[in-house]
Amino acid sequence: MKILIIEDEPQMMENMRQTLEREQYTVETACDYSTANKKIGVYDYDCILLDITLPDGNGLELLKNLKQLGKDDGVIIVSAKDSLDDRIKGLNLGADDYMPKPFHMAELRARVNAVVRRRTFDGNKLIEIGNVTIDPESRSVHINVKEVVLNRKEYDVLWYMIANKTRLVTKTALAEHVWGDHIDQTDSFDFIYSQIKNLRKKLSDAAATIEIEAVYGVGYKLLVK
C-alpha cells in the first residue's frame, strides 16, 4: 500500500509519515507542488494526502492534473483553511475526503484506512478482527457469525477503535470523531465512558476476542486477545 503525503510543513509531514508507516504503509513525501506533480505523473498511489496551500502552487490544481491523467488514486485533502468553499471544490474535483487541520493521528489513520479499503476492495470488503466482522456498508457487526446489534454511537466507537487497533486513542479524538466537532467544548469527555461500558458489555456477552481497554484516564485502546 503506497501513500503520498504532499505537505510543505516538515514537522507536520514527519508526524503523518511516522503514524502511517506504523500501519505498514509505504510512505512517500513531496513538500512542494512541482515535486508532487512529477510524482503523481510517474507513480500510482493508493492514497494521496494533499495539502491545498503549497509554496509554489495550489493543491487543487494537482487534483485536477491527477484527474486529467485519468488516475483514480484516493485523495484526502488536508487543509488549514476549514472553509466550506474549499471542501465543496475539493470534493467536486473528485477528492475522497476532506480533513481540516488540526486533526488527530487516530483520525488520519481511520480516514486513510477507509479510503484505501474502499478503493482496494470496492467498499465491499468486510473488516475482520479476531472473531469480529464488521460490514461498513450495512454497518452491521457479527461476532462468531452471530449478529450483535449496536446503536449508532456504539458502532461508530467500535469502527474507530478497530481502525486504530492496538493504538492509544485519546478521549478527545474519539469524542470528536463519534459525537462530532460541535460537541468539543463540553467540560469533559467523561460521558463517552457510558457508551464504552455498554459496548464492552455487548462484546464480552458475545464472547468477542477483542476488548477495549481504558488507559490511565487518557484514552482507550482496542486489543486483540
Binding site: E9, Q11, M12, N15, M16, Q18, T19, R22, A80, D82, S83, L84, K101, P102, F103, H104, M105, A106, K153, R167, L168, T170, T172, A173, W179, G180, H182, I183, D184, Q185, T186, D187, S188, D190, F191, I192, Y193, S194, Q195, V215, Y216, G217, V218, G219
Partner: protein, 424 residues
C-alpha cells in the same frame, strides 16, 4: 437640554435683566420729559396771564380755580427771592373722576401797579401709577415678543444653520464600527462644521482601520497558531502510541494533551468569531430550526444523560429563517451546550420552538446572570478551565450577523431566547 434651548434660556435671562434696567431708566427719562414739558407750558401760561392782567385788571379778581386753571391773590409783601417760580406736585379734587388726582402746580409772583400778587397755575398731570402700570404691561409684551422671536429665530434660522451638526450627531449615534463605513459628510458653508466633519471622518476612518487591523491580526494569529498546535498534539499522540511510557508518564502526557486540545478549541473559536465578523459565511438558505434543534439535541443526548438531564423539545410551530446553515447549527449548539454545562444535574432542559422564536431554559445557580457581561468574550461563569468562555459570544455574534435577537432572562430558570425577525 438641546443646544438651541440652552442659548434661548440664556437670552431670556439676559433680556429680563436688560429690560428691567432699561425700564427704570426709560421711566425716569420719560417722567422728566413730561415735567419739563408741563412746566414749560405753565410758565408760558403764567406770562400770558401776567400780560393779560396788565390790559384787563378785572382778571385780578380770579381768586379761585373754578373754571380757570389759575388764581391770583393779592399779598402784602413778597421777599425779593420769592419772585422766583416754584413747581410742585399736589393733589386736587377732580369732578369728573370723583377723586383726588395729581396735578402740577406753578407758584409765582408778580407786581402790578406797585402791588404784589401771587399767582398759582395748575395743569393736570399723568397719573404715575397708571403710567408705571402701562409701562410694565408694554414691557412684558415686549419681553415676550423678544423671547418668542428668539425662539422662532432659533428654530427656523439656527436649526437650518446647525443642520449639518445634527446630521453628524445622528450618524455618530448610529455608527457601528464593525458594520459601517467611515462617516462622510457633505461640505458645508461653515468652516467650523467642515473642520468637525473632517475630524470625525478621520477619526472614524482611523478607528475602523485599527478595528479591521485588529480583527485581521486575531485571524492571522489564530491561523498561524494552528500548525504548531497540530504538530505538538500529533507528536504527543505518537509518543503515547509508542507504548513506551509508564502509567504515570502517560497520564502526564495526557494532561499536556488536554491543555493543548483546549488551546486548539480556543483557537478554533477565535477563528470562527473572526470569520463571522469578517463575513466569510455567504451561503444562505432557509434553515428549518425544528429539524436542526432535534438533531443537535440528539447529539447532546449522551452528554445530557451523563449529567442525568433530560432535554425536552416542544415544537409549537414551524420556525424557519434564512441564514447560513453551519452558523445556525453552531448558534443553537452553543446555546444547548451552555444549558447542559451550567444546568443543574437531574433537572430538565426545556426547549420550546414558536413561530418566531426559540426558547431554551435550564435550571442552575439560583440567581440571574449579569446581562452586561453575559455575551462578552472570555467571560466565564465558573472557574472551569475547560470552558473557553467564547460559546455565548459566538452565538451572539451569529445572532447579530443575521439580525436575530438573542436575549437572556431569569425566572427561576435561566432563559435564553432567540427571536427571529418577521422578515422570514
Amino acid at each position: 437640554m438641546k443646544l438651541l434651548n440652552h442659548t434661548t434660556k440664556y437670552f431670556a435671562l439676559l433680556l429680563i435683566v436688560l429690560i428691567s434696567i432699561w425700564a427704570v431708566i426709560f421711566y425716569f427719562a420719560m417722567i422728566d420729559e413730561v415735567y419739563d414739558s408741563l412746566d414749560d407750558g405753565l410758565e408760558n401760561q403764567k406770562e400770558l396771564i401776567i400780560d393779560a392782567v396788565k390790559v384787563n385788571p378785572d382778571l385780578l379778581q380770579d381768586t379761585d380755580f373754578g373754571v380757570n386753571n389759575y388764581t391770583i391773590k393779592r399779598v402784602d409783601y413778597i421777599g425779593q427771592n420769592k419772585f422766583k417760580d416754584s413747581y410742585r406736585d399736589t393733589l386736587m379734587y377732580m369732578q369728573n373722576e370723583d377723586e383726588y388726582e395729581p396735578i402740577r402746580l406753578l407758584e409765582g409772583a408778580f407786581e402790578q401797579d406797585g402791588k404784589s400778587y401771587r399767582i398759582k397755575l395748575i395743569t393736570s398731570m399723568v397719573e404715575e401709577d397708571d403710567q408705571i402700570e402701562n409701562l410694565f404691561t408694554y414691557l412684558v409684551g415686549l419681553y415676550l415678543a423678544l423671547v418668542l422671536s428668539i425662539v422662532v429665530l432659533n428654530n427656523l434660522v439656527l436649526k437650518k444653520v446647525w443642520k449639518p451638526f445634527y446630521s453628524l450627531i445622528d450618524k455618530l449615534k448610529g455608527f457601528r464600527i464593525e458594520k459601517d463605513e467611515p462617516i462622510k459628510q457633505e461640505p458645508t458653508a461653515i468652516d467650523e462644521f467642515n473642520l468637525l466633519n473632517q475630524s470625525v471622518e478621520r477619526l472614524t476612518e482611523k478607528s475602523r482601520d485599527s478595528y479591521i487591523a485588529q480583527k485581521q491580526f486575531i485571524e492571522n494569529a489564530a491561523h498561524e497558531l494552528q500548525t504548531p498546535l497540530a504538530i505538538a498534539i500529533n507528536k504527543l499522540e505518537l509518543l503515547l502510541e509508542k507504548n513506551e511510557l509508564t502509567g504515570h508518564q502517560t497520564e502526564e502526557v495526557g494532561g499536556v494533551l488536554d491543555n493543548l486540545t483546549l488551546l486548539t478549541r480556543l483557537n478554533k473559536s477565535l477563528l470562527l468569531l473572526s470569520k463571522i465578523d469578517n463575513r466569510q459565511y455567504l451561503e444562505e438558505e432557509q434553515v428549518d430550526f425544528n429539524g436542526l434543534i432535534d438533531n443537535v439535541a440528539a447529539d447532546f443526548l449522551d452528554f445530557a444523560t451523563h449529567k442525568n438531564m433530560q432535554i425536552s423539545v416542544v415544537s409549537n410551530a414551524k420556525a424557519r429563517y434564512t441564514m447560513n446553515t453551519d452558523l445556525a447549527i453552531i448558534m443553537i449548539t452553543n446555546l444547548i451546550k451552555n444549558a447542559i454545562l451550567h444546568g443543574e444535574e437531574g433537572k430538565e432542559i426545556a426547549i420550546e420552538i414558536e413561530e418566531n422564536k426559540v426558547i431554551i431554559k435550564n435550571y442552575g445557580q439560583d440567581k440571574p446572570l449579569e446581562i452586561d457581561q453575559l455575551f462578552t468574550r472570555f467571560k466565564k461563569v465558573s472557574a472551569d478551565s475547560r470552558s473557553t468562555g467564547l460559546g455565548l459570544a459566538i452565538s451572539k455574534a451569529i445572532a447579530d450577523k443575521y439580525n436575530l435577537q438573542l436575549k437572556y432572562s431569569f425566572a427561576q430558570q435561566h432563559i435564553f431566547t432567540v427571536i427571529f425577525n418577521t422578515k422570514g
